[in-house]
């Protein structure tokens, strides 16, 4: 892969250690650019471009320090002012205690949400299979299973628990 454009995630995962590679933030993005005939310049010559291009629409990548220091519990844009508009799976992760450090949480939420959409009443084996590509180092997964069961139960019958906020 020397000299080849590769996804920056390979660098993050340590898979190209010691190689001379060119990173592209997301190969899909790269493919789009190549299709448009604009890509393939050595991005090392334009430092910053690779990491920032993918998120150009969303503003600078990451979170500004000032914003980070101001962060507090508040509803995200588009939410009700009372902050109640979390998706069932998000609320279930909080309620079940499936979040400790939370570093794994976004990935697990996406996988769990996809599972429930596909299989509204998943068995435990289904849940384990669907989440097997996501690591969590803090929880031992038990409360993550609880959270997915809870989200599935609430999605199926919102009146059953009186807790689903939709």
């Amino acid at each position: 892969m020397d000299g080849e454009p590769v996804c920056a995630c390979l660098v993050a995962a340590g898979q190209v250690e010691g190689r001379e590679v060119v990173t592209v933030e997301g190969l899909a993005d790269y493919a789009n650019q190549r299709a448009a005939g604009t890509a393939a310049a050595d991005r090392g010559a334009a430092p910053g471009a690779a990491w920032e291009s993918a998120s150009a629409e969303a503003g600078p990548a990451g979170t500004s320090l000032d914003a980070a220091r101001r962060w507090q519990a508040r509803p995200a844009p588009g939410e009700q002012p009372d902050g109640a508009e979390l998706a069932p799976v998000q609320q279930a992760f909080i309620d079940a205690g499936a979040v400790q450090c939370g570093f794994c949480t976004p990935g697990l939420l996406v996988a769990a949400d996809e599972l429930i959409e596909r299989t509204p009443q998943p068995s435990d084996a289904d849940i384990r299979e669907a989440l097997s590509g996501n690591l969590c180092r803090c929880t031992g997964y038990e409360k993550i299973l609880d959270a997915v069961r809870l989200a599935a139960a609430r999605s199926e019958d919102p009146s059953a628990t009186g807790e689903v906020r939709k």
Partner: protein
């Protein structure tokens, strides 16, 4: 207790935490019935003098939960500054080498590079750091001592630019022979890792490549041997485990106008970092201001410094904010690991199942730098006998200096290695005596009043026999559960076998042929808090004021929230003590006094104790104010027993005297104070006697495994745990700690190991090759929580985070041994150990 100035920044990031409203959360509806994942002894109405919701004993929700499920929570790696640049660390490819020369000119010429730093550029005379001994160079000087040691730093306008520039630094190494085990490290002519040691352990160690050695001598081992009807001995080995937290080491250093630096970082102990960072920068501590940014797990791996000094050096040199984020590969080199160990044990017992004596020798590999090796040695030695009464004991524990990766703190801290070995011994003894292994343990279990080999009396409940009884009493998972599972999804066509429930899973390697079940038990003992005479304290600052007619408490400590839920607990304690509903948790920083480390299972005990203590001082001040304002109107104000509940001052009979809003008016009470646990003392260097520990924590596990004996594949079917936590301040969070700790123990049992070559190079620094348990590897973990109060601790609580990591590993091993009949003296167990196809090069 001086009032504080406002913290820097007009809008500090606070986490607002309201008490839950309405009834307790209903249990998940429609979920399949499972074994007890809730404690079977949930606290009854013991809420200490408070009717305020969201206090201690309730499973309140995390104040940062919403931020974490919406992706808004700011981890250290999310930090950003408008004009920041990126730091990168060049690391040694050799485990031991002389640095002949370093040429940075080509790297400096690369476009986008701001600076390159080596040891020669360090700004002060202090060029080394370390938790206990300052033996670690900030950047390697004339010699590298382990694979991955930092040699040079680059700052550039893009991380990729920095990485490429670092590759252009020309370092000429002259490779040296390595020392990699006890034999090579303590040979007569062994190369010395640290010649000319001047540390306080140097004079009592038998060889300069031994960091610290702690013997324990109690009773008469020879007499014990004479009394023994059976004697068993064994050699055991524990591989090098990694904390493998998911949020990589990262931080952002911002130079300030006064020549100092503001550092935002993911760490376990801000003030210990500060103490090590400032001298290297040549700055007074008040010009290095640290703020905790979001931490993605720690488990001991953030106790030592990683990129902290490096980022500050680059920021001060360039005048620009500098961010450093390790990738996964670098993270494996960026923090210390759990000490690998070789252990030799001998136990004796009488026919009626009483232990007569124990001797052991525990050799821990500390790697190239000391880190917390001396304290790990102290723990391994003092807890080497386990939770058993043994009068005649001889222990020797030591840590080596080698060219292997440095090892230090990881959850369990020296007690994990010992527990693996002494629990294997208990099973061997029981088998030799023809006794049930649980009953044998119960006959020898310590209890309150027992004396440890250190001569210390256990002065709090020690329900070792009881947790063994409870874990055994839990219902067993059904036999052949792969057949009873619903044949959906992954079921093989045409059969009722769900291969997902079998060893090998969807690899479809067996339908039950050659699969044997085994059941194993283990129990362990872990100390809580810092030991051996360390002045272990924490600091809290609590404000109470009325905002919008409602009393609000603000709690500020330097406690590192690393995921464990310390912020939840702080809010619960403030509610209980102050009778308020609204609590704001201030971000942890060095503007408030030290909270000590988030380690040793100590934060709920010590920082929780500090918050409780300061809340009590605030309450006194409220009552003073109340007496001054209203004392003449109601005689009850003169009573001593007044409480704060539901936003009011009430008598112990429940009569409301005044609302907090009326008492406080526009006054803000603002107090800061330290709180410390009972003092401990050092262990005698010859006999190991001493009141070394402040509290003990006990957990027991039962593991049920299924082993495909043909392929050597293990499936842990269930891992049940019973643990005494004294008082569950937040029962759900306690269970989360127990399940997470148990899973890390399972990982050590069957998969987790940093593999180090005989030439001391790390072979598997990635999640492709260093395996941690996935949700498929992790079984149901039913938990039974016992709450026997320790009268010396706040609320009677007992540190809970580490004990479950101890007994989990030996319980899984005991179960695999029962299934296979094999000895299995080494963890992690790999398939080749079970099928007899092991080449034997690295197994014990």
């Amino acid at each position: 207790m001086t009032p504080h100035a406002e913290p820097r920044g007009a809008e500090p990031r606070t986490t607002e935490n309201r008490a839950p409203e309405g009834a307790a959360r209903p249990a998940p509806a429609g979920t399949p019935p499972r074994a007890q994942t809730a404690p079977s002894r949930v606290p009854t109405s013991l809420e200490q003098g408070s009717a305020t919701r969201g206090g201690i004993g309730e499973s309140t929700l995390r104040p940062d939960g919403t931020l974490k499920v919406t992706g808004e929570f700011a981890y250290a790696s999310d930090m950003w500054h408008e004009d920041m640049i990126w730091g990168y660390t060049l690391r040694s490819p050799h485990a031991h080498a002389e640095i002949v020369s370093i040429d940075v000119s080509e790297a400096l010429r690369q476009a986008g590079v701001h600076t390159v730093l080596t040891h020669a550029d360090l700004p002060s005379d202090t060029t080394h750091y370390g938790l206990e001994m300052q033996d670690t160079p900030v950047l390697a000087n004339d010699r590298v001592r382990h694979h991955g040691e930092p040699v040079a730093l680059v700052a550039a306008d893009h991380p990729e630019t920095a990485r490429r520039a670092a590759a252009k630094i020309r370092v000429e190494y002259a490779v040296l022979p390595v020392v990699h085990d006890e034999e090579s490290a303590t040979a007569q002519d062994a190369p010395l890792l640290h010649p000319g040691r001047a540390d306080h352990h140097a004079e009592h160690v038998p060889h300069p490549n031994i960091v610290h050695r702690q013997p324990i001598v109690r009773g008469d081992v020879a007499a014990g041997r004479d009394r023994a009807d059976v004697i068993v001995s064994g050699d055991y080995e524990v591989g090098m485990q990694d904390q493998a937290f998911l949020g990589p080491e990262s931080g952002l250093a911002v130079p300030s106008e006064d020549g100092g630096v503001d550092l935002y970082v993911a760490t376990q102990w801000l003030h210990a970092d500060l103490r090590q960072i400032a001298p290297v920068l040549g700055l007074p501590e008040d010009r290095v201001r640290m703020t905790l940014s979001g931490v993605g797990g720690a488990f001991g791996g953030r106790e030592d410094l990683s990129m902290q000094i490096h980022a500050c050096l680059l920021a001060l040199r360039t005048g620009r904010p500098v961010k450093i984020v390790y990738n996964r590969f670098e993270s494996f080199f960026g923090h210390v690991h759990r000490h690998p160990a070789r252990l030799h044990y001998e136990h004796g017992a009488t026919r009626d199942g009483r232990l007569t004596h124990m001797t052991c020798r525990i050799v821990l590999d500390g790697g190239a730098y000391a880190s917390s090796s001396p304290a790990v040695v102290g723990n391994a030695a003092s807890l080497a006998a386990g939770p058993y009464v043994i009068d005649d004991v001889r222990v020797e524990a030591l840590a080596l200096y080698t060219n292997n990766p440095p090892c230090g703190a990881m959850r369990g801290f020296g007690a994990v290695q010992a527990c693996f070995a002494y629990e294997a011994q208990m099973d061997k003894l029981a088998a030799e005596l023809g006794l049930d292994p649980v009953e044998f343990r119960q006959r020898n279990a310590m209890s309150q009043g027992s004396v440890l080999p250190t001569g210390q009396r256990v002065d709090a409940p020690a329900p070792v026999a009881e947790i063994l009884r409870r874990v055994r009493a839990m219902p067993m998972p059904p036999e052949r559960q792969w057949e009873s599972a619903e044949p959906t999804g992954g079921a093989s066509p045409g059969t009722a076998v769900d291969v997902r429930a079998l060893p090998g899973g969807l690899s479809n390697t067996t339908h039950g042929e050659d699969v044997v079940r085994g059941v194993g038990y283990a129990v362990g003992i872990k100390n809580v808090g810092f030991s051996e005479g360390f002045d272990d304290y924490s600091t809290a600052r609590v404000q109470l004021q009325v905002i919008g007619g409602e009393p609000v408490a603000l709690v500020h400590t330097a406690m590192a929230e690393v995921g464990q839920g310390g912020v939840t607990v702080q809010a619960q304690i403030a509610r209980t003590e102050l009778g308020v509903t609204r609590v704001s948790i201030q971000p942890a920083d060095t503007q408030v006094g030290s909270a000590g480390s988030t380690s040793a299972s100590r934060q709920t005990y010590v920082t929780g104790g500090a918050v409780k203590h300061v809340c009590e001082l605030v309450r006194e001040r409220v009552l003073e104010l109340g007496r001054a304002r209203f004392g003449t109107y109601h005689p009850a104000w003169a009573q001593a027993e007044l409480l704060l509940e539901g936003g009011k001052v009430v008598t112990d009979g429940g009569e409301a005297l005044a609302s907090l809003a009326d008492v406080l008016e526009d006054e803000t009470i603002d107090l800061e104070s330290e709180w410390r646990h009972r003092p401990t003392e050092a262990f005698d260097l010859v006999t190991g006697q001493g009141q070394g520990h402040v509290q003990y924590s006990f957990a027991a596990h039962r593991a049920v495994v299924e082993v495909d004996t043909a392929l050597g594949l293990v499936k842990v079917v269930e891992l049940a745990c019973a643990q005494d936590v004294g008082k569950a301040i937040n029962p759900d969070a306690v269970i989360g700690q127990i399940q997470g700790g148990s899973t890390q123990g399972l990982g050590l049992a069957v998969m987790e190991e940093i593999v180090v070559d005989p030439d001391s190079k790390v072979r598997n620094p990635s999640f492709t090759d260093y395996l941690i348990p996935t949700i498929l590897d992790t079984p149901t973990i039913p938990v039974d929580v016992l709450e026997l109060a320790d009268e010396h601790a706040p609320y009677g609580l007992r540190g809970a985070g580490e004990a479950p990591t101890l007994s989990s590993t030996p319980a899984v091993l005991a179960a695999i041994r029962q299934a296979t009949g094999l000895d299995l003296p080494r963890v992690p167990v790999r398939p080749e150990h079970l099928t007899g196809t092991d080449s034997g090069t690295d197994a014990g």
